[in-house]
C-alpha cells in the first residue's frame, strides 16, 4: 500500500476517486451510535468514523453467548492448508469437524485433487475413553497406502487435546515408516479463534519449507502467499506475472503442492496477500532464509496493479517494470469502459462489508468506490488494531467499523445506514436477504473469480445483478 503516484494510471484513479467523492456530498450525516444493545465488553470493537474518537480494537476473543460469525482454531488451520492438493488432510476427531469442511472451499487444483476428499478418524466413544492414538496410526497407514500423498497433515481437534492423544509422536513414527512428511497441526478449537489457527498452519508449512532443493528456480522468482486459487484466481495472477517474466515458485497454498512448499525458501521474494493468514509464515521465512516480503491485495484495479508494480520495483529491472506497465495499460483500456455501465447504475448506492480479514475489506472499499458505491459498514472477523487504523483512513465519515460482529449488530447497522448491498459470506447472506438488500459472496466458498482485472469486472457485474434486481420491489422496506 505504498504511494505509486509516479505511475500514470494511479493518478487517473485518484482523480476519478476525488470526483466521485465530491459528487457524494449528499453523504449521510453521521448519526448517533446505534442503540443496538451491544454486548458488554464490545464497546471498543465498534467505531463510527467521524463520530467516535476511540480506536477500534481487534483480536479480542469472542464474548460467551454471542452468535459470533467467527470460527475456531481448527477452521483457521484447515482453510489455510486445505488447498495443498497432493497432501492427505486427516482430521483426527469425531466426524463433525471433517464433515463441515468437506469440499467447501472453491480452491481449484490443476492436478491432483486429494484435498477435495474429507478424511477423518471418526472417533467414537470408546476411542475417547481408551484413546485414539492407535486409530490414528492405523488410519494414516491405511490412507497413505491407498492414496500415496506427498505429505500428510493431521489436524488435532478439541477432543484430542482433551484426551491427550500424543499426535506428534504418532506423526513422527508414521513419517519414519512411510518416508513422507507427516505433520501434526495442533489446532484444538478451544485454543482461540480462527486467527490462531492461521498461525498454527503457518508453522506447519514452515516445517516443510527448506526440505527440498530439486526444483528449477529463476532469479526472478516469487512465492505467492495467501491466495487460495478460489475459482482459479491464482491462475490469473500466474498469467500476469508470467507476462512480466516472473516465476511463481510456490503458490501457498492455492493450487499448492508439497514439493513447491518445500522449495519455497529459494524464491527471491514473498508476496503476501491475506496478511492475516500468512504474514506469520512470511516473517518466519525472512528470519531464517532472509527472504523479504511485501504485502499486497489482488482485489480492485488499484491494489491489483500495485501488486504487479511492487514486484517489478523489487527486482529493479526496467524490462520487468515496462512489461508491468504495458500489462496494466492493456487491461485498463478494456476494463475501464466495461465498468462504466455498472458504475452508472450503481452510483450512490451504499454497501456493507463484513469479511474475514481487514486487507480484503480495505480493497473492497476501494473497489466499491470505483463503481460509484460508498461503504457504510466495514467489519471483519479477524482484523487487528493496526489493520483497523489503516481501514479507518480510507473509509468515509459515518462509516461504522466493527470487529467480530454478530447478526443482531449487523442487521441493526444495515437498517441504520440503509445499505443496499452486503458483502460477506454464507453466514451473512440471510441477514442481507431477510432485510431485502443485495448480497455478494466474497468468502472462500464462492465460485466466481473476483481477483485481478477480470475479477473486478466480475465483481461489478455481480454487484450490479444483485443490487438492481427487480425482486426488491416486493420487499417492504422500513427505510427512512
Amino acid at each position: 500500500m505504498t504511494d505509486n503516484g509516479l505511475y500514470g494510471f494511479k493518478a487517473e484513479m485518484r482523480s476519478m476517486q476525488i470526483q466521485s467523492i465530491t459528487k457524494r456530498q449528499d453523504k449521510i450525516t453521521p448519526k448517533q451510535k446505534s442503540m443496538a444493545e451491544y454486548l458488554e465488553g464490545r464497546e471498543n470493537q465498534i467505531v463510527t468514523k467521524g463520530v467516535d474518537s476511540h480506536e477500534l480494537v481487534g483480536g479480542k476473543p469472542s464474548v460467551a453467548g454471542s452468535v459470533s460469525q467467527r470460527a475456531c482454531v481448527f477452521c483457521g488451520s484447515r482453510v489455510v492448508l486445505y488447498p495443498i492438493a497432493d497432501a492427505l488432510h486427516l482430521v483426527h476427531g469425531p466426524i463433525g469437524c471433517a464433515s463441515y469442511t468437506w469440499d467447501i472451499r472453491g480452491a481449484l487444483s490443476s492436478g491432483p485433487e486429494l484435498h477435495r476428499s474429507s478424511f477423518s478418524t471418526d472417533l467414537r466413544e470408546k476411542n475417547i475413553v481408551f484413546g485414539g492414538q492407535d486409530k490414528l496410526y492405523q488410519a494414516l497407514h491405511e490412507l497413505i497406502d491407498k492414496h500415496h500423498p506427498k505429505a500428510a497433515f493431521v489436524y488435532s481437534t478439541c477432543i484430542v487435546g482433551v484426551i491427550g492423544d500424543d499426535v506428534q509422536s504418532v506423526c513422527k513414527r508414521v513419517q519414519k515408516e512411510k518416508d513422507i512428511p507427516v505433520i501434526a497441526v495442533m489446532a484444538e478449537g478451544f485454543q482461540g479463534s480462527k486467527k490462531d489457527g492461521y498461525k498454527i498452519a503457518c508453522d506447519a508449512l514452515f516445517s516443510l519449507v527448506g526440505t527440498d532443493e530439486s526444483m528449477e528456480v529463476s532469479p526472478l522468482s516469487i512465492n505467492i502467499l495467501g491466495d487460495f486459487n478460489l475459482a482459479g484466481e491464482l491462475w490469473m495472477l500466474e498469467e500476469y506475472y508470467k507476462k512480466m517474466g516472473i516465476q511463481i515458485l510456490a503458490p501457498i497454498t492455492g493450487d499448492g503442492r508439497v514439493q513447491k512448499v518445500q522449495n519455497a525458501h529459494r524464491a527471491a521474494l514473498n508476496v503476501v496477500q491475506c496478511s492475516g493468514s500468512m504474514i506469520h509464515l512470511a516473517k518466519l521465512m525472512k528470519e531464517k532464509y532472509g527472504i523479504p516480503f511485501i504485502k499486497v491485495s489482488y482485489f480492485g484495479i488499484e491494489d491489483m496493479s500495485d501488486a504487479l508494480y511492487e514486484v517489478a520495483k523489487f527486482f529493479k529491472d526496467d524490462s520487468v517494470m515496462d512489461k508491468a506497465r504495458e500489462l496494466v495499460k492493456d487491461q485498463l483500456t478494456t476494463l475501464i469502459p466495461a465498468l462504466e455501465p455498472y458504475k452508472r447504475a450503481l452510483q450512490g448506492k451504499k454497501a456493507a462489508i463484513y469479511v474475514g480479514g481487514a486487507f480484503k475489506a480495505i480493497s473492497l472499499v476501494k473497489a466499491l468506490r470505483l463503481i460509484g458505491m460508498k461503504t457504510v459498514i466495514a467489519g471483519t472477523q479477524t482484523g487487528n488494531t493496526e489493520d483497523y487504523r489503516l481501514l479507518k483512513t480510507i473509509c468515509d465519515d459515518g462509516c461504522i467499523m466493527v470487529d467480530d460482529s454478530n447478526p443482531v449488530e449487523l442487521s441493526e447497522f444495515v437498517k441504520q445506514t440503509g445499505a443496499d448491498l452486503f458483502i460477506g459470506g454464507v453466514k451473512e447472506r440471510p441477514i442481507a436477504y431477510k432485510l431485502g438488500i443485495g448480497f455478494c459472496d466474497h468468502n472462500h466458498e464462492r465460485k466466481l473469480a473476483l481477483a485481478g482485472y477480470d475479477g473486478m469486472l466480475n465483481f461489478a457485474k455481480e454487484v450490479y445483478e444483485t443490487v438492481t434486481s427487480p425482486v426488491w420491489q416486493f420487499v417492504n422496506k422500513n427505510k427512512e
Binding site: G65, F74, I95, G96, G192
Partner: protein, 476 residues
C-alpha cells in the same frame, strides 16, 4: 477382497470397523439437536463448547434452509477447558437474554464439554438458583449430544426427547389432542402434516415445528428470533395427550451407536411419554409412497374415529393414476438410496412399490436396525439382492456402486460427485441440499408429496435418457 465378500453378504461392515472415514454420510449430533431446537417457539439454541461448532453448524444449516440460523456458543477457551465452563455458561446465558430476550434457551453439549465432564443440568439449576427462580427467566432445555455418539439424526431425536422430558407435566385429565413427532423432515412437509391432521379435525401438537422458523417470509425488519414453533405450553401438555404418533421406525433407538455399553437408556419422546405418563404410542414410518402413507392415514382415522377425508382419497386416487402413467419409466431401474436411516427406509419402501430396485440402501447412521427394519417394512416388495450399509461413507458407497452399476441415486447433495463421476442421474432429497435452492420446500410426505417425488424421479430419468440419446426426441 473384503468389499466383494461384503456385497455377497449383503450387509456391509459398519463404519466402526475401519480406522478412517472418507467423505462421511453424516454430520455430528449437535447439528441435529439445533434443527430440532429451532422447532420450539421463542428459542435461541446455544452450544456449550468451542465457537467453531456453532459457526460450522450455522453455515451448514443456512446453506440448506437459506434462512438466518442464530446459534450462540459459550465460546470455550483453553482456560475454560481446564477449569470448567460454568463462568462461560453463565455469561453466555446472560448475554443471550440481553440480546435476544428468548422464551427458551436450548442448550446442546459438544464433544468438548461432555468430555471434560460438564454437568449442564447442574449449571442450569445453579443459574436459576442465583437468579432466585425469577418467573421471567427463559425456560432452559438441555440435550446431551457428544459428537462421538451417533449422527446428526440421533442428535435431532435426542433434542426432541430432551424438550419433552424437560417440559411435559402431568397436570390435568387426558385431553383430546395428540402429539405428532414428525422426525427430521422439510418445513414444507411439516406444513403438509399439519394440514392433514387439521383436516381430520384432530387438535395436534406437531413437534418440532420449524416450518416457520426455518422457512420464513421476507421481513421488513430483522427478527432476532423468528416467529413460529411449537409452544412451551403445548410441550407441557404433551403428557395429557390422547395419543402420540411418531413417524420413523428407528429414531434414536440405536443404543449401541458408537457407545461402549448399551445401557438401554435411549428412548424416543413418544416412548418416554408412554412409559412415564401412559400416553398411547402409535408408530408408523415416514409416509412416503402409498403403502406407508396408507398406514399413516389409517392411524389418524382410527385415532380420530373419522373416515379419511375425501380430499386425501382423491389424492391417493390421482397418485395411483400417476404411478400407472409413469411405471414403465421406472420399472426395473436400479437405485442407490442414502441418508438418515428412517429416510432410507421410507424411500426404499416407496421405490420398491413402484418397481425400482433399491440395490443399495446406505446410511451414515449405525443403529444396527436398518437391515431388519427394511425387511420388515418392505415385506413382499423386499429386493433380495439389496445391499444394506450402515455407518457408510460416500467413499465406501462409491466402491459398492462401481460393482452394482445403479441407474439412479436418491439422496442428499453430497452424493452428487459420485453421480457425476459415474454419469448417472441424482434425485436430491433429504439433508443437506447445498447445490440447489428450495430444500425447505422439498415435499415428499403423504399422497401429495409422493406425487411430487414420483414426478421428480420419472422426469430425472427422462431427462437423463434424453440427454444421453443421440436422437434428441422431443416426445418421450
Amino acid at each position: 477382497m473384503q468389499k466383494a465378500e461384503s456385497i455377497k453378504k449383503k450387509v456391509m461392515p459398519s463404519g466402526d470397523a475401519f480406522a478412517s472415514s472418507c467423505n462421511a454420510c453424516k454430520q455430528c449430533t449437535p447439528l441435529g439437536a439445533c434443527i430440532a431446537f429451532k422447532g420450539i417457539e421463542g428459542v435461541l439454541p446455544m452450544l456449550h463448547g468451542s465457537q467453531g461448532c456453532a459457526t460450522y453448524i450455522r453455515r451448514y444449516l443456512i446453506s440448506h434452509f437459506r434462512e438466518p440460523v442464530d446459534i450462540a456458543s459459550s465460546n470455550f477457551s483453553e482456560e475454560t477447558t481446564i477449569f470448567g465452563g460454568n463462568k462461560n455458561f453463565n455469561t453466555g446465558i446472560d448475554n443471550i437474554i440481553k440480546q435476544y430476550h428468548p422464551r427458551v434457551i436450548a442448550i446442546a453439549s459438544t464433544c468438548l464439554s461432555e468430555t471434560i465432564g460438564e454437568d449442564v443440568q447442574r449449571l442450569i439449576y445453579e443459574y436459576q438458583e442465583t437468579h432466585n427462580w425469577m418467573p421471567d427467566l427463559p425456560v432452559m432445555i438441555f440435550a446431551s449430544t457428544p459428537s462421538y455418539q451417533g449422527t446428526h439424526s440421533e442428535g435431532f431425536h435426542e433434542a426432541v426427547f430432551a424438550a419433552v422430558k424437560t417440559l411435559a407435566e402431568a397436570f390435568g385429565p387426558v385431553g383430546d389432542h395428540i402429539n405428532l413427532f414428525s422426525n427430521m423432515i422439510s418445513p414444507e412437509d411439516i406444513r403438509h402434516l399439519k394440514e392433514i391432521v387439521e383436516d381430520f379435525s384432530i387438535p395436534a401438537m406437531l413437534f418440532p415445528d420449524y416450518s416457520d422458523t426455518l422457512d420464513n417470509t421476507s421481513w421488513d425488519s430483522y427478527r432476532r428470533i423468528p416467529d413460529g414453533g411449537t409452544t412451551v405450553d403445548e410441550l407441557k401438555r404433551s403428557a395429557q395427550a390422547y395419543a402420540s404418533v411418531e413417524l420413523g421406525y428407528i429414531l434414536n433407538s440405536g443404543g449401541m451407536n458408537g457407545r461402549i455399553k448399551d445401557n438401554g437408556t435411549k428412548q424416543s419422546a413418544g416412548e418416554y411419554l408412554k412409559n412415564k405418563f401412559d400416553v398411547p404410542l402409535v408408530r408408523t414410518g415416514l409416509p412416503v409412497g402409498i403403502l406407508e402413507s396408507d398406514k399413516f392415514f389409517n392411524s389418524l382415522s382410527s385415532i380420530s374415529g373419522k373416515a379419511i377425508p375425501v380430499k386425501y382419497q382423491r389424492q391417493r386416487g390421482r397418485l395411483v393414476d400417476l404411478y400407472i402413467d409413469g411405471h414403465k419409466y421406472v420399472s426395473d431401474k436400479r437405485a442407490v438410496i442414502y441418508g438418515e436411516e428412517d429416510l432410507v427406509v421410507a424411500l426404499a419402501a416407496f421405490a420398491a412399490e413402484i418397481g425400482i430396485k433399491p440395490v443399495l440402501c446406505a446410511s451414515g447412521g449405525e443403529s444396527g436396525k436398518l437391515a431388519e427394519t427394511l425387511r420388515k417394512v418392505l415385506g413382499k416388495n423386499y429386493y433380495e439382492d439389496m445391499v444394506v450399509g450402515q455407518g457408510m461413507s460416500f467413499e465406501r458407497m462409491e466402491e459398492v456402486m462401481q460393482e452394482l452399476k445403479p441407474d439412479l441415486m436418491i439422496g442428499n447433495s453430497k452424493g452428487y460427485y459420485i453421480a457425476r463421476k459415474m454419469d448417472i442421474p441424482i434425485v436430491r432429497t433429504g439433508f443437506p441440499i447445498h447445490d440447489r435452492i428450495g430444500a425447505q420446500h422439498s415435499h415428499m410426505l403423504g399422497y401429495e408429496g409422493t406425487m411430487i417425488l414420483f414426478e421428480q424421479i420419472v422426469n430425472t430419468l427422462l431427462e437423463d435418457k434424453q440427454r444421453k440419446s443421440p436422437v434428441g426426441y422431443k416426445y418421450m
